[in-house]
Symmetry: C2
Subunit: 216 residues, 2 copies
C-alpha cells in the first residue's frame, strides 16, 4: 500500500492523533530487534522525524532505560545543550519527582568564557553543568562539541551522568561524537548512528523515558 | 567517496563549523534548481536535518523571500505554533525592526477553549494569533491542525499572513496539510512535500529569511 498517498482522516482529537500515528509507525516499521520498552523510545523518535532510517539507527545501552527511570524518580535534573530541548521537554514530569530541566548555553558567564577561549558556548556550558549538577540526564541534540566535551569530562573522572541522550545532528563532528558516545563504558546512553538527529528527536527520546518513569 | 566514514576535523571555532558544514552540503547536494537566495534557505534546512531528501522536497513560493524580508523590516511579528520554534528563533533579528516572536499554544485561555471544544490547542492558538496580529510570519513546524486551521481562516478572509513557513512533521495530516498549503494563492509560503519536517527545520528556514533581511 502506498501510505504517502493514502487518505488520512483529519483527526483533531489530540489523544487519537498520537494513537493513530503510533499504529501507522508500527505497521510500516515491520520487523525489528528493539525490546518492548526500547520500542517506546524508538517509535517516538520516528514520530518526531517521520524517518524510519533514523529510528532504525538508534542505539540504546542495555542499562539506559533503567538508569533514566531511576534518575527521574530520584529527582535528578535534566541538562539540555540548547534552549529548544529545554522548551520542548514536558518539565512537569520531572518536577513532580523534584527534578527540573536546565540549559546553560545562554548564561552570561558561559558566553564570556567561550569568547575568551574562542570555543563554543556548548563546550563551556557542559563544564558549568557538571559543576552544578550531581549525576543527571544529559540531553544533547544540537552541539557535537557539547557531547565530545561531556565524554572528555567523564573520561577524566570529572563527570558522572546517570544517562546521556546524545543525538546531535550535522555535518561536522556529529556522527563522530555519537560514535565516541557509543564506545563509552562509564555511563549508559541513547544515541544513533550517522549524521541525522537533532533537538526534536532528542526531546522525543527524553519524553519517552519520562513516560516510562511514570508507568513502571 | 564515503562521506559517512571520512574523517572530519573536530573544529571548535563556531564560525568555521558553519562554513565547513555549508561547503560539505553544497558539494554533496550537487545539481539543483534553487536560486541563489532559495539555496540559502534550503542549505539551512539540510544543515538542521542532515537530510538531503528533505532539502530537495522544499517548495518556495516565488514571492516568499521578498514577502518575508519585507515583513521583518516592517516589524511584523512571527507566530510560532510551538514553544520549540519560539525558543529556537534568534529574536534579536526581529526585535531590531520592531517585531517579535510569539507562541500562543500554552496560553491559559487557549487551553480552556481547546478543552471545551475537544480540539487541539494548536487550532485555537491560530484563531487567537490572527486576532492579535496584523499580517505576520507564521512558522508552523509541529502541528498539522494549526496549518489547516490557518489555511481555513485565510480562505474565509479572516487571516492574511505576510508569509507562511509551514513544515509540520508526522503521520497524521502533516503531508496533507502541506499539500493544501502548496495550493493556496492568497499568501506566499515555504513548505515541503511529504511527512518529514519539524520545528528545527522550520526554525532553520525562518532564520535564513531573517539573515536575508539583514543582508539585502
Amino acid at each position: 500500500m502506498d501510505f504517502k498517498t493514502e487518505f488520512k482522516p483529519l483527526t483533531i482529537d489530540p489523544d487519537k492523533i498520537y494513537d493513530y500515528s503510533f499504529s501507522i509507525i508500527a505497521e510500516e516499521m515491520g520487523q525489528h530487534d528493539f525490546s518492548e520498552d526500547e520500542w517506546k523510545i524508538v517509535r517516538r523518535v520516528i514520530h518526531a522525524s517521520a524517518d524510519f532510517e533514523l529510528g532504525r539507527s538508534v542505539i540504546i545501552h542495555p542499562d539506559a532505560i533503567r538508569a533514566g527511570v531511576e534518575a527521574i524518580r530520584n529527582g535528578r535534573h535534566v541538562i539540555a545543550d540548547v534552549q529548544m530541548i529545554e522548551s520542548g521537554t514536558g518539565k512537569a514530569r520531572f518536577q513532580k519527582y523534584g527534578g527540573d530541566v536546565h540549559c546553560y548555553i545562554s548564561d552570561e558567564d558561559v558566553a564570556i568564557e567561550a569568547k575568551r577561549l574562542n570555543q563554543t558556548r556548548a563546550i563551556i556550558s557542559m563544564q558549568k553543568a557538571v559543576k552544578e549538577n550531581e549525576g543527571g540526564i544529559y540531553a544533547i541534540g544540537n552541539a557535537p562539541t557539547a557531547l565530545l566535551e561531556l565524554i572528555r569530562l567523564i573520561k577524566e573522572g570529572k563527570a558522572k551522568p546517570d544517562l546521556i541522550i546524545g543525538m546531535p545532528v550535522g555535518f561536522v563532528s556529529a556522527a563522530e561524537s555519537k560514535a565516541e558516545l557509543a564506545k563509552i563504558t562509564e555511563v549508559p546512553f541513547i544515541t544513533n548512528v550517522g549524521r541525522k538527529g537533532g533537538s526534536t528527536v532528542t526531546v522525543a527520546a527524553l519524553n519517552a523515558i519520562s513516560l516510562l518513569a511514570d508507568q513502571k
